[in-house]
Symmetry: C2
Subunit: 166 residues, 2 copies
Amino acid sequence: MNRAATNSEQTDAQQEKMLKIGEVSKQSGVGIEALRFYERSGLLGRTARTESGYRIYDPEVLERLEFIKRAQVLGFSLDEIKQVINEKRAGHSPCAAVREIVRRRLQELDERMREMNRYRDDLAAALAKWDEAGEVEGHICGLIEATEIDHRIARNKLTGKRKAGK
Amino acid sequence: MNRAATNSEQTDAQQEKMLKIGEVSKQSGVGIEALRFYERSGLLGRTARTESGYRIYDPEVLERLEFIKRAQVLGFSLDEIKQVINEKRAGHSPCAAVREIVRRRLQELDERMREMNRYRDDLAAALAKWDEAGEVEGHICGLIEATEIDHRIARNKLTGKRKAGK
DNA sequence: CTTGACTCTGTACCCGACTACAGAGTTTAT
DNA sequence: ATAAACTCTGTAGTCGGGTACAGAGTCAAG
């Protein structure tokens, strides 16, 4: 809770050490354009402004950004993160929603990894086979021609498509 | 090799049973717009045309399309597939190129799957923890706040980014 | 008081692999 | 002969998560 009120207190904003966008960017590693993009997207709420229109951030935003990054790494889309944040701001605990999303992610992930494993093995097998057999003329390449996986793997599952359900 | 010359022989094209784009689409499952897109992208070469400008395909194109689909499932981008095909058409065997690409894919895939495994475990652990502990107030959600994975997983590796090297 | 660093808005662009549409011409079936 | 079905080109839009300007205004140091 104590957010390091180091030195040079109250410049002209209220009194807490407010941050301008560049500082937030540096400290969070998020990138100015991305910060504005997040705001436009409703992930940061309406940011406070100086009289001249500069965004000023409460240092709390750094936690919020950490949250966002963490959620992204966990596989949440920005849209889902927004849902979660809005749930929270609407007063109810977002945990039910979060849990739902995580459950879904987990299932998808398991499925995807199962496919990837098969895919990996096919790839490795093809490569090994090719390594020992040398070239096969007449076809484009034995490597690809020789693999038969298409009937086992649902297309477009490996390429990372995920259409944001709900 | 025998491509079922069923009935209604030589309409007005050369003599082989040429296909119009709709038939190719139906037989390959590829979609008319995608076929034109592939052609624009250089994956199918310049397609033959009737006098009136309709594309006419040799049934061989179905094999080519199977090749493309297979390569896609294997994780090749259309750009890489194009490289391979062009190598082939330039006279040299594309196998060296293909092998390089496959090697790269395989490495990336292994790396990605290692990350995914950690990710999956974190997710599952967070969910289990949440299930037993109930809600944690004061923070947005214990589920996400409680996970510490960001320092272990390189961001953007899980989201499926792959910038087409070379 | 001027220079340079910072910030603002708004718009457009990037990637990849397509899909959608408009408006025109062609072929096929009745 | 005419309508339905097909095909053509060219342009624009989709999705997600941003990035990259341009042109204008603001702030801090010398």
